[in-house]
């Protein structure tokens, strides 16, 4: 050891997620036996270290800092099992050394973040994410990416990750990692500091500030009685060179002057998947599971087994996907990976080598064959967990309180439970809370769903239209925990957060149907003010919409809410005028929209059904008269889709708005000889879609149909048959029997005989004729 290092504290620069760093750090700590281990991390989170090193804590976990008030700022410090920091903490705990975080407190980090953002020139694009702030320490600040890719290129590697893994993670000689990284960081700083000062002055100042603070913290420990050479500082490689000289520190007054936001800290479980999606964070993030495998290998003392384990895992996954892969191919893949590493004079294959080998041998050259397996082996599905009660954000507290209040605590288990809710008032209990317990539960579940917390999943009810019953499947999982913690950023309580999400959604909603869906959501979540906001949004959208199908769907949604709103104890009165307006619009554009092709007519028929339903249900509020008027108009028009005209006629007939004589006059007009078959039969198809018993009870109608069919030419008859066959295909056997009886009577045949002929199996000859009809040429329609 050189004399200079002996005088000062020991700095151990690392990359934040680096199994090699963790291994070398442990060896270093063992050798040095320090009395204090100081770690780059928010100094106000030092208390959390005991939770982090707790037996029950399973990484990946993260420290989350967030501000209480708007605008919400967050900062995150994740740890994986192979994080050097995490292993350093564990070592310190096991060996009785003092351990502490020494970076700026999270409150100041967030305060600075805020200040920086305010100062920021809006025209200038910068890395926006909050995580970047916590990770300017890394050796990979994006602004200097070019330097890193240049290093990689000079080393003959394809990217910096490959260079890093080959030269640092695979370097097993004792002490090499630390000394190499120290000199790397010193030279890198000498090279880039000037440029950083010029081009990224804020970044530079921020780093200088952090380093001054860290130096001060180190000094405090020395003053507290730790021998300098018994202190080990674990920090990002970038800071390593700056922490050796402790002369310049920050004073108390200066610290007091720093901007600060009142903030809270919590630990939260984390997942490998999240680790990969974090922007700006250090190495190892692209393949956490791979690096975990590397760490496990190092712990076992068999790092050389990694390629075998990795490629065997990939092969196993490819096999489980149904493709055969032999062991010989795995062996060859290992050989190829090793040969690729040898081309770069590396001691072991890097992740890139392994992936390429897997693609060539296990994917037979095709990446898509192994892509899924690779992703699963690289990223993994690990989710961390914390001891009960360690993770405490306001929203978690709120949720726990609500779960207790609504007697749902027993459902907070990892076993899926079913829960059926009856939203109606329970009249056998006295307190209001108990009477509406299930309703409150439902509201809570809907709010959680809105927040994207997958704790309770709504299953479709078996009973159609039973709005008072809901079925939920409830299951707690670590992912749910993460989702809850993340919701903290949206608001302090479940209600506030849900309101925030709903408002965001309403602002981004551009569609009548979506808006009405959101209104329903607001009702389910019992958020009155959002219902009003939603109806304003819907109203604004409806004014410009001419889409009858969309309007009808939205109106139907509203009508449901109005009809059943009282079950949810929601005041739906403000929605009534909106329903009227939508209904009127639907009526007014009905005729316009009915000039459509048969495909669109299907949707129009649904819309007409919905509008008619509303007209019947809310006859006292909506303009039923207008509706009937428009239907009459449509039914008498010859230039609209005939099916829709027929359907309008059917509704009118059902509502008793046209007399039997009028119907029969219309039938004979529509089915008179000379009318093209597709028009006549299409109209009849529309007519037969509603009120069938009304049709069946009118003998005269069938006489007319019979007459019409008789009058058709052969070619015309074939065309008409196609439409009629479709029209009658939806009739039930019972209805068909009734028709056959009617026709039997008409033709003077025995009713039973007629039924037998009409409902019996087809003869071979007839089947053949029908086959021919299926080939019927629709081209000239």
């Amino acid at each position: 050891m050189n004399p200079a290092a002996q005088a000062g504290v020991h700095i151990f620069g690392v990359r934040h997620l680096s199994p090699g760093g963790a291994k070398h750090l442990l060896e270093y700590l063992e050798e040095l036996q320090p009395t204090a281990v100081l770690i780059e991390g928010p100094s106000d989170a030092t208390d959390e270290i005991r939770h982090l090193t707790h037996q029950a804590t399973k990484p990946p976990v993260a420290i989350l800092a967030f501000t209480g008030e708007l605008p919400v700022r967050t900062a995150l410090w994740p740890f994986a099992v192979y994080s050097p920091e995490y292993q350093g903490m564990k070592w310190a705990k096991a060996n009785g050394a003092e351990v502490a975080f020494i970076d700026l407190p999270a409150a100041v980090t967030l305060g600075l973040q805020d200040a920086l953002r305010r100062e920021e020139n809006p025209g200038r694009s910068r890395k926006p994410s909050s995580e970047d702030r916590t990770e300017s320490s890394g050796t990979e600040a994006p602004a200097y990416e070019s330097i890193y890719s240049r290093i990689a290129r000079l080393a003959g590697e394809y990217d910096y990750d490959m260079y890093w893994e080959r030269n640092y993670e695979h370097n097993s000689s004792a002490g090499a990692y630390r000394s190499a990284l120290l000199s790397f960081s010193a030279q890198m700083r000498a090279l880039s500091e000037g440029m950083e000062q010029r081009e990224e002055p804020r970044e530079h100042a921020y780093n200088a500030l952090r380093e001054a603070y860290m130096r001060r913290q180190i000094k405090l420990r020395i003053e507290a009685g730790h021998r300098p050479d018994k202190i080990v500082v674990i920090c990002g490689a970038y800071h390593a060179a700056a922490l050796a000289d402790l002369s310049e520190t920050i004073s108390d007054e200066e610290i007091a002057k720093l901007p600060s936001r009142s903030s809270k800290l919590t630990l939260m479980p984390y997942s490998y998947y999240k680790l990969t999606t974090m922007s700006g964070y250090g190495a190892g993030n692209s393949a956490p599971h791979y690096f975990e495998m590397m760490w496990e290998g190092m712990e076992k003392g068999r790092p050389d087994e990694l390629p075998h384990r990795y490629l065997s895992s990939v092969a196993r996954l490819v096999r489980s996907g149904g493709a055969h892969r032999s062991t010989a191919e795995v062996i060859e893949a290992v050989r190829l990976a090793e040969s690729l590493a040898a081309l770069h004079e590396g001691s072991a294959p890097t992740l890139r080598d392994l992936r390429d080998a897997a693609q060539t041998l296990l994917g037979h050259g095709d990446l898509s064959a192994v892509a899924e397996a690779l992703a699963r082996v690289d990223v993994g599905t690990a989710i961390g967990s914390l001891a009960e009660g360690v993770s405490q954000t306001p929203i978690q507290e709120d949720l726990n309180r609500l779960l207790k209040r609504y007697k749902l605590e027993k459902y907070k288990s990892t076993v899926a439970n079913d829960l059926s809710l009856d939203l109606r008032e329970n009249r056998r209990v006295t307190s209001e809370e108990a009477a509406y317990l299930d309703l409150y539960r439902s509201v809570l579940f809907h709010r959680l769903n809105l927040l994207g917390i997958s704790f309770a999943i709504n299953r479709p009810s078996g009973q159609e239209g039973a709005t008072w019953a809901e079925h939920w499947t409830i299951q707690w999982s670590p992912e749910v925990e993460i989702q809850v913690v993340e919701s903290t950023l949206l608001g302090e309580t479940i209600e506030v957060a849900a309101a925030y999400v709903l408002r965001e959604k309403l602002q981004n909603c551009h569609d009548v149907a979506d808006a009405s869906g959101l209104i329903r959501l607001a009702c389910q979540c019992a958020m009155t003010s959002q219902i009003e906001e939603g109806s304003r949004a819907l109203q604004g959208l409806a004014v410009d919409s001419r889409d009858v199908v969309g309007i009808a769907a939205a109106a139907r949604e509203l009508s449901m809410i109005i009809s059943f709103g009282d079950i949810r104890k929601v005041d739906t009165a403000p929605l009534v005028p909106l329903l009227e307006q939508l209904f009127r619009r639907g009526c007014l554009f009905l005729l316009d929209a009915s000039g459509c092709n048969d495909e669109a007519a299907d949707r129009m028929i649904t819309a007409m059904n919905e509008l008619n339903g509303i007209a019947l249900e809310h006859s006292e509020t909506v303009d039923d008269h207008l509706w009937l008027q428009e239907l009459l108009n449509l039914s008498s028009r010859d230039d609209r889709n005939p099916r829709l005209s027929g359907f309008a006629c059917a509704i009118l007939m059902e509502r008793g708005m046209i007399s039997a004589e009028e119907v029969s006059a219309e039938v004979s007009r529509r089915l008179s000889p000379g009318i093209p078959a597709d028009l006549g039969a299409g109209w009849f198809e529309g007519l037969s879609m509603r009120g069938r018993y009304g049709l069946l009870s009118r003998m005269s109608l069938w006489e007319q149909l019979d007459g019409y069919i008789n009058a058709l030419e052969d070619e015309e008859f074939k065309r008409a048959l196609v439409f009629l066959r479709r029209a009658f295909s939806t009739f039930s056997p019972r209805e068909k029997t009734m028709i056959s009886e009617l026709l039997g009577e008409l033709w003077g045949v025995n009713a039973e005989q007629a039924a037998e002929i009409l409902t019996g199996e087809l003869k071979e000859e007839e089947a053949k004729m029908l086959e021919e009809l299926n080939d019927f040429d629709f081209g000239n329609f």
């Binding site: 032999s326 060859e332 690729l340 081309l343 390429d356 060539t360």
Partner: protein
């Protein structure tokens, strides 16, 4: 030997080991790496030969432009004495890469089996000089060795072109050769074992998939590398530029090498038609039935140069280019003609003033 060399100079196309003799010699001289048994140079130097770089003072021209990682994987495969299979669309430099790899590693890219539907097992293993066989019975002198057998004896690299065009029984003959690394000649009661350094580089076409699908057993014996179409405009442009200049000099075409602008236009058209959308990804384009590879772009341009040299002023005009484009794109008359017409009117017409001349010429040609 000297006469042989002179003869070679008259050849239409020189093998890579002759064409790049200086580069190979320089690489061998400067080589400091570990040379595997049977190889002429270290794997790193092979890589440099293909990807380009420097050997001492000699500049090594890049032979394969594109993802150099693929070259690394190919070289690494051959180091592990595995056979290498290059697959890709027509015109993605499969044969070119295989020839250059063989030239660098073994110094001879001439041990080739050219796979066709008519290739028989004898081409893969050995056959007989029947006159001698009838006269003397089976003797070593009467044995006609296949290129693969010769490569085994010499510890060299054999190439197998268009392997998927061969009937499956011919492909099957390779299976035991690749796993046992011997060819037995029962008539002579002897076996030829492969010396160190022996390997096979095969190429196959993705468009031929399903013609003679390779068996799983055979596939398993190859490391398979898929050569992609050039990933971006710049890469493709530099490939086309380099090859056009090379071909022009070797065929002594009396036309000026096309201007960068003309190259850019041709490559743009090819890329747009190949990918089915315009370069800015805003518009969909119909793709013609034929192959629109980089190789086609190169031959189109040399073709147009020949036209210009023989019948024109020696300078490539829009008319020459249009004739070349017409020939390259419209192969299956009716449909391709419509595709080309649609492309001309929907895309090229809107490309602005620089394209005007070419557009007019193409339009006339396609009438």
């Amino acid at each position: 030997m000297s006469t042989g060399q002179e003869q070679l100079q008259d050849n239409m196309r020189l093998p890579a080991e002759v064409l790049y003799r200086e580069e190979l010699e320089a690489l061998r001289k400067e080589d400091k790496g570990n040379i595997p048994a049977g190889w002429q140079m270290s794997p790193r130097s092979v890589f440099t030969f293909i990807a380009g770089g420097k050997a001492g003072n000699t500049v090594i021209t890049p032979k394969y432009i594109g993802n150099t990682r693929l070259i690394e994987m190919a070289v690494a495969t051959l180091v592990t004495d595995r056979a290498l299979l290059l697959i890709g669309e027509p015109g993605t430099a499969k044969s070119w890469l295989s020839e250059n790899l063989a030239a660098a590693i073994y110094g001879n890219s001439g041990l080739v089996v050219q796979g066709t539907a008519g290739t028989s097992e004898e081409h893969v293993r050995y056959s007989w000089n029947y006159a001698m066989l009838l006269a003397n019975g089976p003797t070593p002198e009467a044995l006609v060795k296949s290129p693969i057998m010769r490569a085994m004896e010499e510890g060299g690299i054999a190439r197998f072109e268009e392997i998927s065009r061969c009937a499956s029984e011919v492909q099957d003959a390779l299976i035991s050769i690749l796993s046992e690394k011997t060819i037995s000649v029962p008539e002579l009661g002897k076996e030829t074992g492969a010396r160190k350094g022996f390997s096979i580089i095969a190429t196959a076409n993705t468009r031929d998939r399903g013609v003679n699908e390779m068996s799983a057993a055979l596939k398993r014996r190859f490391n398979i590398i898929v050569l992609p179409a050039p990933s971006d405009l710049e890469t493709e442009l530099s490939i086309v530029k380099k090859r056009v200049a090379e071909i022009a000099s070797s065929y002594e075409l009396q036309a000026a090498v096309p201007a960068d602008e003309a190259l850019l236009k041709v490559v743009t058209i090819f890329r747009e038609l190949r990918s089915g959308m315009t370069l800015d990804k805003k518009e969909k384009v119909k793709t013609p039935a034929g192959v629109i590879s980089t190789a086609e772009a190169i031959s189109l341009l040399t073709n147009s140069m020949a036209l210009a040299a023989s019948f024109g002023s020696g300078v490539l005009t829009d008319g020459d280019l249009a004739a070349g484009l017409q020939g390259a794109i419209v192969k299956d008359d009716d449909k391709d003609k419509l595709v080309w017409k649609e492309y001309l009117d929907n895309v090229m017409k809107k490309k602005g003033a620089e394209w005007r001349g070419l557009y007019q010429a193409c339009k006339e040609m396609n009438e």
